[in-house]
């Protein structure tokens, strides 16, 4: 179907998944109020199930986006394969995040409609962020996502740790947003536009002139994004916020929020700001190295499994940055593929942690995992799969993702980054394996309470996550093809031609045409 923005209906079509999800959020908000009436009681089962169902509907709408073809205009929202693939990752994170949280909400007596509404709205923010081709839209969607997640972080009102985490996250998040906004303003000053499709030639011009505003703007933009993806040295909030937040929210946050920020970063930095690569590539190189080294070392010293996983998720941002710094098509595809696997393993591992921790989130120490593998064999096997994948061990998706990133780095001539990646992974082996050895090599103390059998939604999503990880490890062909298509679709425009990307795209012999990509750069109605 062709989209030319002559009819107003086209705007709805191109935003269909976001529209579906926002509508569902509003309906749930109202419906929940009516079914609960005056009392502050639990929501009915159907509220949660509707929320999960609406995510599936949004995923279907997202698939429909592939049939669209934008024929004119430089819209603020992209409709390329990259957006669709990224959307599937966000929706996956949301779907499993919701299913994993059912048990927890019931256990903590927090089963309120607001939770689902906030999650859905945050997801809308993520999806728009992944699609934004205008810096103003980047800012708006980032705020939509972040504000919802601030509230989710503080959702467990009875727990001071949760409130503290929410406040911390909010303050630093607001700080980061200010940086981002400053950066956008400077970029506007340098180029005279916020539309990314038009910004490219002007960035090239400005870079050639040595425009200070461009460098300042890019730098501030990097700082803003650095906070959101929790890259060192902007990561200070992450361990505290991740540790204090309710664990299912942590999983959702670590997976979804990071994926969305990375999707935007890939689009803005490695495509639109590519002409100014010398402004950011070296800086980001150091950020990537630090983000791989530091959190991995700190994680070694953590005895709280949740906090350890929080540091490990910072380290994973470092691995993902390798794909960004490589700045070639392979790097973009690799980062996207890794994000997909990362989502599954992060959600899964945090879910196991909250299940073991029990009511009030108290038993999170390493020793609380002793003998878990023998007491709950299936939960143990699932956790081993999640941890091996986080460590990047075959035959899991984490391994294929790491190899993907390594190939991107080597192709871009960044052998130093590749070596840093593997050496820091080695450090990570130790703390992931420590959990495994607690789970299997030690017997549980007699008096320790055994974690109960998880509920059906938990079992279902843990099984799907584990199976997905193994599938992406053993038969990654489909995933790689999709990631390749998405990575290429970002640069499939005549005006944007980065030399590095051009060289590598030719070599990946995937199926030829990209399904949906804006093909025209003529002036359109937006602006």
């Amino acid at each position: 179907m062709e989209i030319d923005f002559v009819s107003k209906f086209d705007y709805l079509l191109i935003l269909l998944p976001e529209v579906v999800l926002s509508a569902a959020a509003l309906v749930l908000l109202l419906g929940d109020v009516f079914q609960r009436g005056q009392e502050s009681s639990q929501s009915a089962d159907w509220v949660g199930l509707t929320a999960a169902g609406s995510v599936l509907a949004a995923a279907a709408a997202n698939g429909f986006l592939l049939t669209l073809e934008v024929t004119s205009g430089a819209p603020m929202i992209a409709a390329d394969a990259f957006r669709v693939t990224a959307n599937f990752i966000f929706l996956g994170a949301t779907f499993f995040g919701l299913l994993f949280s059912f048990d927890w909400l019931e256990r903590e007596g927090l089963d309120k409609g607001e939770f689902y509404v906030l999650v859905l709205l945050a997801t809308v923010g993520m999806m728009v962020l992944g699609a934004a081709r205008d810096l103003i839209v980047v800012f708006l969607s980032l705020e939509l996502m972040s504000i919802a997640v601030y509230v989710l972080t503080a959702f467990q009102r009875s727990d001071p740790r949760s409130s503290e985490a929410g406040l911390k996250y909010f303050l630093i998040g607001a700080f980061a947003s200010a940086f981002l906004l400053f950066g956008i303003a400077f970029l506007y000053g340098a180029t005279g536009t916020t539309n990314l499709a038009r910004v490219v030639p002007r960035v090239a011009e400005a870079a050639a002139d040595g425009n200070v505003l461009l460098y300042l703007g890019t730098g501030l933009l990097l700082v803003g994004f650095g906070f959101k993806i929790s890259a060192v040295p902007f990561h200070m909030w992450t361990p505290d916020a991740y540790e204090g937040a309710p664990t299912p929210v942590t999983g959702y946050m670590a997976a979804g929020v990071k994926a969305a920020a990375f999707a935007a970063l890939l689009r803005v930095l490695t495509v639109e700001l590519m002409p100014a690569a010398d402004a950011w590539q070296v800086a980001l190189w150091w950020v990537a190295v630090l983000t791989m080294v530091l959190p991995n070392l700190v994680a070694l010293a953590q005895d709280d499994v949740k906090r350890m996983l929080a540091y490990s998720s910072v380290a994973h941002a470092g691995y993902l940055l390798v794909g960004v710094v490589s700045a070639n098509a392979l790097g973009r595809s690799a980062a996207l593929f890794y994000l997909a696997v990362y989502t599954l393993m992060t959600l899964g591992s945090f879910a196991v942690v909250y299940h073991v921790a029990g009511k009030g989130d108290r038993r999170r120490h390493l020793s609380d995992f002793a003998g878990l593998g023998w007491r709950r064999p299936l939960l143990g096997v699932a956790m081993v799969i999640f941890l091996l994948s986080l460590a990047g061990f075959p035959p899991t998706g984490g391994f294929v993702g790491k190899l993907y990133l390594l190939r991107a780095a080597v192709d871009a001539g960044q052998v130093g980054l590749a070596v840093t990646l593997v050496l820091t992974s080695l450090v990570a082996y130790y703390y992931y394996l420590r959990v495994v050895w607690k789970m299997y090599f030690e017997e549980a103390p007699e008096e320790a309470p055994s974690p109960g059998r998880p509920g059906p939604s938990f079992r279902f999503s843990a099984a799907v996550c584990a199976a997905g990880i193994l599938l992406l490890g053993l038969l990654p062909g489909t995933g790689i093809d999709a990631a390749d298509r998405a990575g290429r679709s970002l640069t499939d425009r005549p005006t944007v031609e980065s030399p590095a990307a051009g060289a590598t795209t030719a070599g990946l012999d995937g199926p030829g045409a990209t399904p949906a990509s804006p093909s025209s750069e003529s002036d359109g109605p937006s602006d």
Binding site: P394, L403, V410, V415, G477, I480, L508
Partner: protein, 543 residues
């Protein structure tokens, strides 16, 4: 039948059967899991034996070869095959596994299902390493092999099992990760030269790699393999892992796992990076380290109070010999090295099994606790002496054939090294014979030892096949050597040709890997000396 064994199906079945067996183990009742595993491994062995007879001698081509596209976007295949280098190792694996399973029946009394499942997964991993002919596939098996072993040591091991398991895992992982970067580099070079992405062995082995780059890539591969061998000074994980592992774990570690390192050199290190691997400095380093390993391990072994750790150190010495044979870079040394890998698997495997048997009776492995066992356990004593002699390398046992060929080959290219290594054989007698004497001979002084029962039917069934093979290879090694000679000779020829044909570097317009920041010299000085020096290497190593 014939076509089954000449197609990849035999190898695919060998790879898949243990996986199915693992599933069966999970479904079997706790007490029956061992039986299931035994039947699976025996069937596996029975299936693999005809491979030895259908294997065509006189050709270095891969046999039972098959390749199926797997991840097409990256040119990754499921490709398997055997040649003279891997055939004996495949058979050694299928032989070792039923013995390892049978030896566990008494020792393993908890979590039996998990134990036998892991053993079977380990078997698939090891067979995969020896048969995979695609670098992605190889790497997956190479790493997957670690996980079951980690659990086997960590769950069913001795006192310091957690320390040993982690140490084993981390040590072996260091090298593997750098190898992964090198694999990505190889794939990139192949892409630069041909415009296609491939992980297939036959594609990458033909890659022309600039000489300077070869050293980096060879270094990454060699580190992974040298840790696994283990080559001095990277060996420290081995005594810990061996001593703490359950008997079956030690047997598999010594019998099969250590060979994956040597196999990696033969299959990848030498043919891929021929120039780097035959560079006098590299050859000298490996010969020196091999030699140091032989002598050092012998001295350390001599003072071990624990039988098991003594045997663990002998492993280092034996593998040192194998390294000498390989880096002698001539057919005798190469064939001897390959045969000696099998020999070491048989005799050290048997030693660990025997030690496991007395440990189950006495719950100690200290040499001083025994003495005079020949009186109460005559069959055990007989086996122990035969196996120990084969480990020393006495004529008429398999060890003699292997070590003799290795020393012959080494002497041809490096006489001084060979002479020093020969003293290692004397040291072997020095640490092995006193131990044998103190365990099975000497007067029977300890009361606890008076009631010991001799090996029962199960234990004899485990040991007899190994004894038979030890003597068979000792007196009639030809069937084994015939099957390796063509591949060994071909490998030597190819390495010599390719080491001279390797492009000099950027000057010739060949692909070059950019190591960012680090300036890679495309030609580190030996270009001026001409290709002559990379022929049959004839330099003394720096002692």
């Amino acid at each position: 039948m014939e076509s089954f064994y000449s197609s990849h199906w035999i190898l695919s079945v060998l790879l898949a059967l243990p996986l199915l067996g693992a599933v069966a183990c999970q479904m079997a009742p706790e007490r029956k899991a061992g039986q299931v595993a035994l039947w699976v491994t025996v069937l596996e062995f029975a299936l693999s034996v005809p491979l030895f007879f259908t294997f065509e001698t006189g050709t270095a081509a891969f046999q039972s070869f098959g390749a199926v596209p797997w991840i097409e976007a990256w040119g990754i295949q499921y490709a398997v095959g055997v040649d003279g280098i891997s055939l004996l190792l495949v058979l050694l694996t299928t032989l070792t596994m039923p013995l390892a399973v049978a030896s566990s029946f008494r020792y393993v009394d908890r979590h039996q299902k998990a134990y036998y499942t892991l053993l079977l997964l380990l078997q698939t991993g090891m067979l995969g390493v020896f048969t995979a002919l695609d670098l992605f596939l190889f790497y997956v098996f190479w790493e997957v092999m670690l996980i079951p072993m980690y659990f086997l040591i960590g769950i069913w091991g001795g006192e310091r099992r957690i320390y040993s398991a982690i140490k084993f895992f981390l040590f072996t992982a260091v090298g593997s990760l750098l190898m992964l970067v090198a694999i990505a580099g190889l794939v990139y070079l192949y892409y630069q030269q041909t415009g296609a992405v491939s992980f297939a062995y036959r594609d990458l082995v033909q890659l022309q790699i600039a000489r300077g780059t070869q050293f980096w890539l060879f270094g990454a591969f060699a580190l992974a393999f040298a840790i696994k061998v283990p080559l001095f000074p990277l060996h420290t994980w081995l005594p810990d892992a061996h001593v703490e592992a359950p008997t079956a774990g030690s047997v598999i570690l010594a019998g099969v796992l250590l060979k994956t390192g040597i196999y990696g050199f033969l299959r990848f290190g030498l043919p891929f990076f021929s120039h780097a691997a035959t560079h006098p400095a590299v050859v000298g380093t490996f010969l020196t380290l091999g030699l140091v390993g032989i002598l050092y391990a012998a001295w350390v072994a001599a003072v071990q109070p624990d039988v098991k750790s003594l045997i663990a150190y002998t492993s280092i010495a034996h593998l040192g010999f194998v390294v000498l044979g390989i880096f002698a870079l001539n057919p005798q040394g190469m064939e001897g090295g390959i045969l000696q890998m099998v020999n070491h698997g048989l005799s050290t495997g048997a030693l660990f099994l025997l030690v496991g048997m007395i440990y189950e009776r006495r719950h100690t492995r200290l040499i001083e606790e025994f003495g005079g066992l020949a009186r109460v356990m005559p069959f055990f004593a007989f086996s122990f002496v035969v196996v120990a002699l084969s480990s020393i390398g006495l004529p008429a046992t398999n060890g003699f054939v292997g070590e003799f060929l290795i020393l012959l080959g080494t002497f041809r290219s490096h006489p001084v090294v060979a002479t020093l290594a020969a003293t290692g054989v004397i040291f072997a007698a020095y640490y092995m014979l006193p131990m044998v004497q103190r365990v099975v001979l000497n007067p029977l002084e300890k009361e606890e030892n008076e009631e010991l029962e001799d090996l029962d039917a199960r234990e004899r069934a485990i040991i007899v096949p190994l004894l038979a093979l030890i003597l068979l290879i000792g007196v009639y090694p030809n069937p084994f050597l015939d099957r390796t000679s063509a591949s060994a000779g071909d490998l030597i020829r190819r390495v010599e040709e390719r080491s001279q044909a390797a492009p000099l570097g950027a000057a010739t317009g060949r692909a070059e890997l950019a190591f960012d920041g680090v300036a890679v010299l495309p030609d580190d000085g030996d270009g001026g000396e001409g290709p002559g020096m990379t022929g049959p290497v004839s330099v003394e190593t720096g002692e």
